[in-house]
């Protein structure tokens, strides 16, 4: 286990160096949710029944979760890029713990996300979002968000090692953009037709978003929702547990085994 900790830290260091060497990329990635908050918040916000400021408060947790779900894409892209460039194979010929490389990648991604969330939340505060619950609940909300990011990145790492294609990762970017559209991240699901509402509420993004709204005190849990949304914190934790239980072993095994 100490081997994993040591190697994992070294690999985490590598990912952070990449960010330091290439800050423009990270800054650009972080501007995306901010512009979406402004566009959705003011453009859609004007057309919805909900008052604008209230909608922007509703939107902040949704965008946080939608951005976290992008971990699938970034995780996949980086893993595929490493395979493609031969970095993965160089590391695999070293006496390095098999799990260290994906663990380091996922941990670094969570750290970068945590830092990137700060400017987004500052813009959120500027447009009317507030932490309306207790500080402890707010911390729990952030913890849940980062746990979800960690789980999504693992799913991405597995897909990246499986497909070994940076192009496929790019294509998946469009799919992860669609995913929050079929959830309660941007709109309330109460008025959706029954079957569509069920699908949207079983979307992991919905449980996470509802949990964040509840913990930040931004919006109450909707009435008559499907189980993961009706019990948002438990639902969110369950989704994260399922994702991790599936993708951590798959990712590590795929990394250890290589392509053969």
């Amino acid at each position: 286990m100490s081997t994993l900790a040591f190697d994992g830290t070294a690999m985490l260091g590598r990912q952070l160096l990449r960010v330091r060497n290439n800050p423009a990329l990270v800054i650009l990635t972080q501007t995306m949710p901010i512009s979406m908050l402004l566009f959705f918040g003011y453009v859609f916000g004007s057309a919805l029944a909900m008052p604008g400021a209230e909608y922007r408060s509703f939107l902040v947790p949704g965008l946080l979760v939608a951005t976290a779900a992008n971990g699938i894409m970034t995780g996949m892209f980086q893993a595929a890029q490493d395979v493609h460039r031969g970095v993965t194979d160089r590391l695999r010929t070293l006496p390095v713990s098999r799990a260290a490389v994906p663990v380091g990648q996922a941990a670094a991604d969570v750290l970068v996300t945590a830092v990137g969330t700060v400017p987004f939340l500052l813009v959120g505060l500027a447009v009317g979002w507030r932490i309306e619950g207790s500080a402890l609940e707010a911390v729990a909300a952030v913890g849940l968000l980062l746990l979800f990011r960690f789980a999504c990145t693992w799913a991405g790492i597995f897909l990246g090692l499986l497909t070994r294609s940076e192009e496929a990762a790019g294509q998946l970017g469009s799919a992860t953009f669609m995913l929050p559209l079929l959830s309660n991240a941007y709109i309330p699901t109460d008025n959706l037709p029954g079957w569509l509402r069920t699908i949207a509420e079983w979307n992991p993004i919905s449980a996470l978003t509802t949990a964040l709204r509840e913990l930040f005190g931004n919006a109450p849990v909707p009435e008559g929702a499907a189980w993961p949304v009706a019990h948002p914190v438990a639902g969110a934790l369950a989704w994260c547990a399922v994702l991790l239980a599936v993708f951590v072993p798959l990712g590590v095994r795929r990394y250890a085994r290589g392509e053969g």
């Binding site: 040591f6 070294a10 590598r14 160096l17 060497n21 970095v87 194979d89 070293l94 290589g258 053969g260």
Partner: protein, 316 residues
């Protein structure tokens, strides 16, 4: 555990779908020697290296690398080897120095910074040390790759086509590094498409064809199989016959003429024939020369000859 062989493989097989990349590779590399695995594209050289460096698992057969079983003791194998190939590369987003420091750290070296600086100096990369590796030229990149596989001195170094696509100066730098490593007692297994490279560096050559070792021997033995091509170009077409007579006497080969260029050539298996001697003999026979050359055989020559011989054996 000490053994005579750094690499010893028996019947290694690897299949990719329908393609049988290796069909039973037997390879024996004595400790402290340089083994050249020679073969054209698609012969299975890279697959062989990927298997022997634990990047792929064999479908059948077994191998011991540095005395450790390739499959059961993969971790011990990884501690003993260094690998450089087109697929095992450094991180282009990191600088040369950051890359080497990372590998030194992963090797649990006490002073990763010092080790990185030392290797950068040795491979002439000190000036470029703090630039991202993605900005390096092909030759610099290959030197950095090589440095990365030497961070902690390996017992066995695997080099997969280390000079393919490099300019002559960079190729020379890689060759010098291999010679130094051999002097330090490192075993080197290198794959190459160039007979000249194997001739320059290897103690033994294993010719690989369609997933099998088709032939093994020293570089001199390989060259003797095919012989050396001697050619002279004369100033006056009238003396072509005299030149052919001299060639016939020196080489014992059947002279062939190229009247348009005023050239005559012959194949010899006599490795002691030198260019000065050839010129002296022709001079003594009164043949005015424009040009003379002794060309070592190319891989194509050797390959065609050896595989043709094998096919004949099979037919017989």
């Amino acid at each position: 555990m000490t053994t005579t062989y750094a690499v010893l493989s028996e019947g290694l097989e690897k299949r990719f779908g329908e393609v049988r990349a290796l069909r039973g590779l037997d390879l024996a590399v004595p400790r402290g020697t340089v083994c050249g695995v020679l073969g054209p594209n698609g012969a299975g050289k890279t697959t062989a290296v990927r298997l022997l460096t634990t990047l792929l698992r064999p479908d059948a057969g077994s191998a011991r690398v540095a005395g450790h079983d390739l499959v059961r003791e993969a971790a011990a194998v990884r501690r003993a080897i260094g690998v450089t190939g087109q697929y095992a590369s450094v991180d282009g987003d990191l600088t040369g120095r950051q890359n080497l420091r990372l590998f030194a750290r992963l090797h649990r070296m006490r002073a990763p910074n010092e080790r990185a600086a030392e290797l950068l100096e040795r491979f002439g990369l000190t000036e470029a040390a703090d630039r991202p590796a993605s900005t390096y030229s092909g030759g610099m990149r290959r030197r950095l790759d090589l440095a990365a596989s030497l961070v902690r001195r390996p017992e066995i170094l695997f080099l997969d086509e280390p000079t393919t696509g490099l300019d002559p100066a960079s190729r020379g730098a890689i060759w010098d590094a291999v010679r130094e490593l051999k002097q330090d007692g490192t075993t080197v297994l290198l794959t190459t498409q160039y007979l000249e490279e194997a001739d320059q560096l290897a103690d033994d050559i294993a010719l690989v064809d369609r997933g099998l070792v088709a032939h093994t021997g020293s570089p001199a033995q390989f060259k003797a199989v095919i012989g050396t091509y001697v050619e002279v170009v004369v100033a006056d077409p009238e003396v072509l016959v005299e030149a052919a007579g001299v060639l016939d006497r020196l080489t014992g080969g059947q002279p062939t003429f190229d009247h348009e260029r005023g050239a005559v050539g012959a194949v010899t298996r006599d490795t002691t024939l030198t260019l000065p001697r050839l010129v002296r003999e022709l001079d003594a026979a009164g043949v005015p020369l424009l040009d003379a050359s002794i060309e070592p055989p190319t891989l194509d020559d050797v390959f065609l000859r050896l595989t043709a011989e094998q096919e004949q054996e099979v037919a017989a």
